[in-house]
Symmetry: C2
Subunit: 511 residues, 2 copies
């Protein structure tokens, strides 16, 4: 073979770098839409994003990539590539196979129908009109079923839904999720019952304290500073901006978080800032030497979520974290003369109460929302539920699982944008993130027993150091099942998370 | 011929629309770099911008565009295309010819050398070290001479420098510019002499008033509101942001201006906001039905500058404009109890004094700075001056023309970024803009004699209406020489501008 392995590999990485650079530019254009864009530009912006996507798709499916992959994989010296190089080749091949096997026409149809469905969802949600949403959702699901069937062939998964899961959580299957979610659900329900039977009732009046946006901005700055997410130094690699629905985005040296300051719900911005900063630290912490390589990306959405939930909840709602922080910012929350004790504060931000809306749910009931969505979308893609039946199934599951009565579909099946946005197989990663975060915390506890004492001194370095060494540093070198094993010495396992919750809430609710 | 003219034309417009949409996305990424980007991202951003440029270049030079152009231009029914369609074809062909005739290798070399030269310029300017800058500038000029020689063939211009001029001011020649600039220079020098001999000396103490940034932001909002540039309504199509060097950018429904608030130079942001708003109104005012077509763009850089200089100076430094505005904002400039009379204010913001720095120059001496740069770059591209001689030639011309002694090259030949950025043939458009703005003002005066009275009432509608009808509405349908004729019934002509200055300054300086 005349082409050298080394030169083919270099060419492949160079071509793929262009895709990464383009993707990072697309992220900026998207971020701008959500934070800065003048409202009049909405239709122009969708033209820009659609064009960039189509350029990206064309570059991703360039036959030259296929040729390089084939040269490398068939090369007699393929085995001389090191682990990182092989993983890069694997990740590029995975993306190339998926992108090329999906017909361009189908991809375009999905993109178009997605835009229509999101728009219709917005209107339907605003007017509590599922009948309006239904036909568009139906078309989008049908198109995604086609895509899933094709991806199932490419990825050799057992079901089409498994092929969708694999997009967000590589190699994860519905079977495995169902099993672990069942255990999670049992544990959460048991815990919830204990909490509901507890005599302690937290005083949550501090959450209803009105806090001006300007003061919330100051709190947010204090939070990110404590977490070592740099948004203000002359060499800062981050930003905090304001948007409707908080998100984080970016790549390596330019990672941005957003939040929404509600004057009458100050805690909302506090915990969204902690959550998004967890995501941002992961992105910023990826190995610099892997920048512009496929391995220089997070492991999976579940792992991403483990980082955000760790900072938002396990750290961000802990008594230790607020021991050092509360004295610094309490004057921003309550009038100077008012008293705001640590214990009362911690009880308030950890109040557990089954509710209808996922994004407002507490730590204990949150995963139950996710489990419901997982069960529904799995059955939807297995043709066991029709689009027609969605609201009834939804409402019934909410009644059974959370004991709440859904009164209209806007607080029910239409509450989230995911299904309107074509994100099927995405929801489970939220609860997987919780499970991973429990395993990670247990391992940190084991290796750095004083980490909570350090937290109480405002020192988050031990945590960051551990995460850097055991999670960030591995980028996308392993599939999630391997990374959790590598990082915690255990397979995916719900016990540490349930145990963490049990310990925490038995103290808070005194049972 | 089997291909129908109509379908080829449509295909051409569709392909070209992609280039326009891509360009508008590039503008957002560039805007973000100047206003929002975390500082750490600078090298990543240059990768993103370079990639987008190279994608744009590839798409601009796609052979399919050449084929469509040739089909259309040779089509027996070509003459059935209307004026707008023919102009679109002409503009696409012009761009295609230029882009395809320049070797990709040369384009890449220029881009690379440009980045190096700008960086070196920054360092050299900061350390007053022309020797550091010189070799990089020399390389960049040499590469641009190669490009100019090629473009001269394509555009069939008399000299390479004329080919560069044509990029920014189509069909304009150095010969014509030299002639009109000579007349402009004579007029300005005569006027300057009268001003310098005048006994009136304006009191400029108000300009040294310290104004907090927060108050300057309020002033800026009042200014754009008066000018009808919408940055705050629910359907706003614009923004004001902060940057090092003010600029405007954008396309149709998303046109953004930037400014810089200097606490000790409040007038700087006031006039940069007026200037950039003049640009923004032009972009926003282009015919909606021409969106995504080549004709849906401004006529030339000179015309763009005529709009910014009209709003900045002819309107923005007029007594009438401030009659209604000053009472509204003067408390933001001076302490409440202090007195700030209209006449004194107008004299201060119109003070004339030869200086070394172009961007700080007053209305009378500004064009002289531009004339000097034009003469130097014309001679540079005709090989009459070497890079070695630049500082000496510069300093001599400043002494002769403006009577100032340049003490170091940072306040001399290195003051502007244009030459480091590869913008040769660009400077003349600044003074052409002034000349056009004089002709436009004279025509507005003739057609709407009460326009200054309306200004004094805070009513800018008559001006905007005239500009919309006579400038904005024509987009890029005509070359600048034709548009100025169409709009003002006169050829390019320096007299109205000189007359405007003479009338204004004879009053202010009482001669």
């Amino acid at each position: 073979m005349s082409t050298s392995l080394r030169s083919s590999y270099k060419k492949l990485i160079t071509r793929n770098k262009e895709l990464i650079v383009l993707g990072s530019a697309q992220a900026i254009v998207h971020w701008d839409m959500e934070t800065m864009m003048p409202p009049k530009a909405v239709s122009m912006r969708s033209e820009q994003l659609a064009l960039l996507s189509s350029i990206n798709h064309k570059m991703s499916t360039a036959p030259a990539i296929g040729k390089l992959l084939s040269t490398i994989l068939k090369h007699p010296h393929y085995d001389t590539l090191n682990e990182v190089e092989k993983r890069n080749v694997h990740l590029i091949k995975k993306n190339y196979d998926e992108q090329t096997k999906l017909p361009t026409k189908l991809v375009a149809e999905i993109a178009k129908q997605q835009a229509i469905t999101v728009n219709t969802w917005k209107k339907a949600k605003a007017t509590q009109n599922y009948a309006l949403f239904k036909p568009e959702l139906e078309k989008l699901v049908a198109l995604n079923k086609q895509a899933a069937a094709i991806l199932m062939e490419v990825k050799q998964t057992k079901t089409p839904y498994d092929a969708l899961l694999d997009i967000y959580e590589p190699k994860m299957t519905a079977e495995e999720i169902a099993k672990i979610f069942a255990e999670l659900q049992r544990g959460l329900e048991k815990l919830l019952q204990k909490i509901e039977n507890a005599s302690t009732q937290p005083d949550t009046s501090v959450l209803r304290q009105s806090v001006p946006v300007e003061k919330q901005r100051e709190i947010a700055k204090a939070l990110v500073q404590t977490l070592d997410y740099d948004v203000s130094s002359p060499n800062a690699g981050g930003r905090i901006d304001e948007t409707e629905h908080p998100f984080s985005t970016g790549y390596y040296d330019d990672v941005r978080i957003t939040t929404h300051y509600h004057p009458d719900k100050w805690a909302s911005s506090v915990f969204s800032v902690l959550h998004e900063t967890g995501h941002a630290l992961y992105e910023q912490g990826l190995p610099q030497e892997w920048k512009y390589q496929p391995v220089g990306s997070p492991c999976s959405l579940g792992f991403h979520e483990s980082q955000s939930r760790l900072y938002e909840n396990i750290i961000g709602r802990s008594s230790e974290f607020w021991t050092s922080l509360l004295p610094k910012i309490k004057n921003l929350i309550v009038p100077t003369q008012a008293n705001l004790g640590l214990d009362k504060f911690i009880q308030a931000v950890n109040v557990v109460k089954p509710s209808k809306i996922r994004i407002e749910a507490d730590e204990v009931t949150y995963s139950l929302h996710v489990i419901i969505r997982f069960q529904i979308e799995r059955d939807l893609f297995a043709d066991k539920i029709s689009i027609n039946e969605l609201p009834a199934v939804w409402n019934q599951k909410y009644k059974e699982t959370l004991g709440v009565n859904i009164e209209n579909d806007s607080e029910g099946v239409m509450q989230d944008t995911h299904w309107a946005s074509g994100l099927y197989g995405y929801f489970p990663t939220y609860a997987l993130g919780n499970i991973y975060s429990g395993q990670i915390t247990a391992k940190i506890q084991q290796e750095k027993p004083s980490w909570r004492n350090e937290l109480a001194k405002g020192n988050l370095k031990p945590v960051k150091e551990w995460l850097t060494r055991n999670i960030y540093n591995y980028g996308n070198l392993y599939d999630p099942a391997d990374l959790i094993k590598k990082a915690t010495d255990k397979e995916l396992n719900v016990k540490p998370y349930l145990q963490y919750l049990q310990e925490k809430y038995s103290k808070l609710y005194a049972f």
